[in-house]
Amino acid sequence: MADNWVRVCETSDVDQEDVIRFDHAESTYAIYRSLDDDFYATEGLCTHEQVHLADGFVMDNIIECPKHNGRFDYTSGAAAASPVCVNLQTYPVKIEGDAVYINIPDDDAELR
């Protein structure tokens, strides 16, 4: 599948140990910045009840859903605590200069 790098934001738009929302082509994504200044991206909605994860709380490599406290490892997408049991889709991230890009497959909007 062809790469489809999409510019998301400036690195300074995301605080350390925090997450922001990014909407693109009718899909929504969550962009994370770890304590070590590494960036990650996952699909934007919790797999439990479709709540925006960008409103959730980041602790180490964990994102906690703002509604039911379900947890995922945002670096791998793995479900980490109930009530969530379905993993998150993750997306490759690259930094060029001060800009953050994520690689969204062309047909991703249709999957979401």
Partner: protein, 410 residues
């Protein structure tokens, strides 16, 4: 881990009972495990019943798990079965089909039921607790004129959903403000104003005295003599814990099945979790009616049933969705607390309560969608750590609570 040959029986297939069963298996406990659910359906989540389920009746039921998943995990799910007795001497539970189930350990997670309206004609009022109540409530929120008795979370959620259907709503509340049991006055009045802007009317500080019926209309007479004509009446005045099984079995019961910090009742082989149990917190015993509590107690109950000795420690937390906003409340306000307000640029509002020593003890936040969640989650951590927090920093929306937490003292 405990002897796996001794069966574990769970009475109640709501959030607590079902989550306990699933977690016991995740922990690797492989003995006989039975989950008894008196509702004739797979285990489901109750919070949506007073929220999206009323505005989008065709939305799918949010299930906790399925019968086939329970089967795959060798959890014997007795759907539509009711436990009618517990014999603690022989360690058996009797069921409504005259059969009995032996137990090594038992979890009572029977939840609570809607409190009936204790006035003349009170049985005319509809209540909401389970999925079988939905049809009647849906019909009520779509009538031209609805009277809701009780301005707690459920009453206000129902009022907000009735507004979606264009219904005229009047809410009657005995206390002088809405949400008086759960939110600080500043937050409660903000929420009431939001309802009033949508056209919902409130009669506060007034009790419903009597409900009369004329054809398909109702007249709610109030303690001040006023009469409200309406097409349906919904009562949302709290819940009563389902403790009858425990009482009949001789367990200690006082506004809930009394349990210790490990959720064990006065019989150490019997645990209790969720809305039906009264557990130690902040120097007394409390009973919470909240999804989060039911979910978190299940995790502790499962571990202790599997042989651990873990204490349940919590800072109460709950949320409510009304209109386009969500409110989250965490902690327990103490007497003599000072309230500090924070207003953010995206029009979220927070109220923080500091006790006489300056320790953060409670916080509530209201914002569009879940926009208040991050701050409330950080506040929960500050409350858990009993941090002394600078009121000026709490009031300043440019200072994140994460930053406050890094510099806070205990």
């Amino acid at each position: 881990m405990l002897n796996s040959a001794e069966p574990i029986v769970i009475i109640g297939a709501g959030e607590s009972g079902t989550r306990t069963a699933l977690t016991i298996r995740q922990l690797g406990w492989d003995g006989p495990l039975t989950l008894i659910g008196e509702e004739n359906t797979a285990p489901y989540e109750r919070p949506p019943l007073s929220k999206q389920r009323l505005s989008s009746p065709d939305s799918p039921v949010a299930t906790i798990t399925t019968a086939s998943e329970l089967h795959d995990r060798r959890i014997d799910f007795l759907q539509g079965r009711r436990a009618v007795g517990i014999d603690r001497t022989s360690q058996v539970v009797s069921l409504d089909n005259d059969s009995t189930l032996p137990y090594g350990q038992l979890l009572i997670a029977t939840g609570s039921r809607a409190r009936p309206l204790p006035i003349a004609g009170g049985d005319h009022a509809i209540t909401l607790r389970q999925i079988t109540d939905i049809e009647r409530v849906l019909e009520a929120v779509r009538t031209p004129r609805l009277c809701v008795i009780g301005a707690g979370l459920i009453g206000l959620e129902i009022a907000a959903q009735a507004w979606v259907h264009g219904t005229d709503v009047i809410v009657v509340e005995a206390a002088d403000e809405v949400l008086s049991r759960v939110a600080p006055p500043a937050m409660a009045s903000l929420i009431r104003h939001r309802h009033e802007r949508s056209g919902v009317s409130f009669v506060l500080g007034t009790q419903a005295h009597r409900i009369g019926r004329h054809n398909d209309q109702y007249i709610v007479t109030l303690s001040n003599g006023t009469a409200i004509e309406c097409d349906r009446v919904i009562a949302a005045i709290g819940s009563i814990p389902n403790c009858e099984l425990a009482t009949d079995a001789g367990l200690l019961v006082a506004n809930g099945i009394v349990v210790d910090d490990q959720l064990r009742s006065s019989d150490p082989l019997i645990l209790s979790a969720g809305d039906c149990c009264s557990f130690p917190a902040a120097g007394s015993h409390v009973r919470l009616e909240a999804w989060r509590n039911a979910h978190d107690q299940a995790n502790v109950a499962a571990q202790n049933l599997a042989g651990s000795h873990i204490s349940y420690v919590t800072v109460p937390w709950f949320w409510s969705d009304q209109y386009d906003f969500s409110v989250q409340v965490v902690g327990t306000p103490s007497a003599g607390a000072t309230d500090v307000e924070r207003h953010t640029h995206d029009s979220a509002t927070f109220v923080f309560s500091l006790d006489v020593d300056g320790v953060l003890v409670a916080a509530s936040g209201l914002g569009t969608g879940s926009s208040a969640a991050k701050t409330i989650r950080a506040a929960q951590m500050l409350i858990e750590d009993r941090c002394i927090v600078d009121p000026a920093a709490l009031a300043d929306p440019t200072v994140s609570l994460r930053a406050i937490r890094k510099t806070a003292t205990t």
